[in-house]
């Protein structure tokens, strides 16, 4: 099966992808002011410190926004597929795919991380609906009431 494009890694970002291989969702944290930041970068935009470490996120999140891709064809994906911007309770956002029925997604939907093995050599983080997510019929009913 066609695979999605593989991310590159460099000195700024490899901690994230190494975490993914260990099934950890790592978020970069400034060692000076403790602010979280994503996507990773060398310097803290709040205090300009170059010292950083990372935390392991809980893996819980909420859909902040999402799209359903139909066209044009994207190599490695079968349309329609959903891509969401996930807000993490730790305080950052991250983009990822959400599994299941794209028509069931909604802003505010609780999701949790999972780790998808692409092949023997690499893994991607992904998201699935979590406890408390409304099903699609409930979603339609709620929106109709609103």
């Amino acid at each position: 099966m066609a695979r999605p494009p593989r991310p590159t890694m460099n000195l700024d970002s490899s901690f994230f992808w190494e975490g993914v291989e260990k099934h950890e969702l790592r978020i970069q944290r400034c060692a000076g002011c403790k602010r979280l930041r994503h996507p990773p970068r060398p310097m803290c935009p709040a205090c300009t410190s170059l010292d950083w470490d990372s935390i392991v996120a809980s893996g819980q999140g909420e859909i902040y926004s999402y799209v359903v891709h139909h066209h044009p064809p994207v190599y490695g994906f079968e349309a329609p597929f959903a891509v969401a911007l996930i807000e993490l309770p730790e305080g950052t956002r991250i983009v990822g795919n959400v599994s299941g029925d794209p028509t069931a997604l909604y802003v505010g939907m609780p999701v949790e991380v999972e780790f998808v093995r692409i092949d023997d050599s690499w893994t991607l983080p992904a998201w699935r609906p979590a406890a408390g997510a409304r099903d699609s019929e409930a979603t339609e009913a709620t929106e109709a009431e609103a």
Binding site: A2, R3, P4, P5, R6, P7, T8, N10, S13, H38, P39, P45, Y64, S65, Y66, V67, V68, H69, H70, H71, P72, V74, Y75, G76, F77, P80, F81, V83, L85, T92, R93, I94, V95, G96, N97, P102, V107, L124
Partner: protein, 390 residues
């Protein structure tokens, strides 16, 4: 005038090729044809041109255009980054060059075979698997978020959620653009207006965007000639005085994916451009009779109207209702048909329309135009202009 650049320079020539889906000529030829047309329009000769500004994405080098036109000397050449966000920025570069005396006459140009050649709508694909993506896309491409429509759709969904905007609200922009294109013989969609129902029935590209929310891919070129306001008085055409020009990039700025700001229902960088335009020109939104608002995707037209202060945050859907942005409305937008209707030349055809509205020579001319506001690409570091009558 708080800024010494205001009214120091003017656009005195505009030139373009036809807008098509298959030009059958090289991108360099398109750029040359447009540049020559702009010089002719101003009543100047190639040897009068001594500056060139284009986009970093442009394939035709400044020196190739200069060689082609036989220009003997260039004293300023520069490029502006970030895709369509560069459009009005090229004019600002030119204005700064002529205001400081670095150059006397500067050509700003953009030309491409963007439909028959490499199609922008396909996004950042074309890599075979396992070949590293460009680093800035690492956080998107592995998840299939690779096209301009998809990047914008992510903002649009949140905007809808925050303010209750609907797909029909976006559709009203497309209907206005296509209405204007329908009476512009140079527009690709000449004589082909659409209804809101057509918009709603058009297929999904990336939900929540329909096909008719997305601009065209076009072949063509546009060039603009900028010189000092003083010299502009003696040239062939009524000058479009550059009352204000601005660029903007804001906190946590990314190229189409500034998803990490506290609030993503706005376009901070366009707010920054707007603030500068009003301050530099001394004008207010009420002073603008017509505007060219960058329309690669319809949702960002609403956001821009809010960021520029034409209406309050979240209220653009009400502002654009009832035909306000159509030709007989209070603020006609994109009277050439926009990039949805005329052509997608990375915003440069919109600047040309702004010049025509100031001259009084547009096919869909608005009455009593004193000032026109023009914006450049959205979702990217961007730019804007206010052009006015001398």
């Amino acid at each position: 005038m708080s800024n010494s650049l205001s009214e120091r320079a003017a656009i005195v020539g505009i030139g373009a090729t036809e807008f098509s889906k298959a030009s059958g000529r090289s991108e360099l030829q398109l750029a040359l044809e447009a540049a020559k047309a702009a010089i002719d329009d101003a009543g100047l000769e190639p040897a009068d041109v001594d500056g060139m500004v284009t986009f970093t994405m442009e394939s035709s080098e400044e020196i190739a255009v200069a060689r082609g036109l036989g220009i003997p000397k260039l004293t300023h050449f520069s490029r502006v980054h970030f895709g369509g966000g560069a459009a009005c920025g090229t004019v600002q570069q030119a204005a700064m060059a002529v205001a400081t005396g670095v150059s006397k006459a500067v050509i700003c140009y953009r030309g491409f075979n963007e439909r028959s050649g490499r199609r922008f709508g396909a996004g950042r694909q074309g890599r075979t698997p396992d070949i590293p993506a460009a680093l800035p896309t690492d956080w998107y491409a592995p998840f299939g978020l690779v096209t301009p429509a998809a990047w914008v759709a992510m903002f649009a969904r949140r905007y809808m959620h925050e303010y209750g905007a609907t797909s029909e609200d976006f559709g009203r922009v497309a209907v206005a653009d296509r209405r204007h294109a329908a009476t512009n013989p140079k527009a690709w969609f000449y004589d082909r207006p659409i209804s809101l129902e057509d918009h709603q029935k058009s297929r999904w590209i990336v939900e929540p965007l329909h096909l008719l929310d997305c601009c065209q891919e076009s072949d063509g070129a546009v060039a603009l000639l900028v010189t000092s306001s003083e010299r502009a008085r003696d040239l062939r055409q009524p000058p479009a005085i550059i009352r204000a020009s601005a660029q903007g990039s804001s906190f946590e700025q990314e190229m189409m994916t500034s998803y990490y700001r506290d609030d993503i229902s706005g376009l901070d960088e366009m707010g920054l451009v707007g603030d500068q335009l009003w301050e530099m020109s001394g004008l207010r939104p009420d002073d603008i009779r017509t505007a060219v608002i960058y329309d690669h995707f319809t949702p960002f037209v609403l956001t821009q109207l809010e960021e520029l202060g034409f209406c309050k945050r979240g209220e653009a859907r009400h502002f654009i209702a009832d035909g306000r942005i159509e030709l007989d409305g209070e603020l006609p937008l994109n009277t050439h048909g926009g990039q949805l209707g005329e052509a997608y030349i990375h915003g440069m055809n919109g600047i040309a329309e702004g010049v025509r509205q100031v001259r009084g020579s547009a096919v869909n001319q608005v009455d009593a135009v004193e000032n026109v506001l023009v914006t450049a690409g959205t979702g990217v570091p961007t730019s804007g202009l206010i052009l006015g009558r001398a």
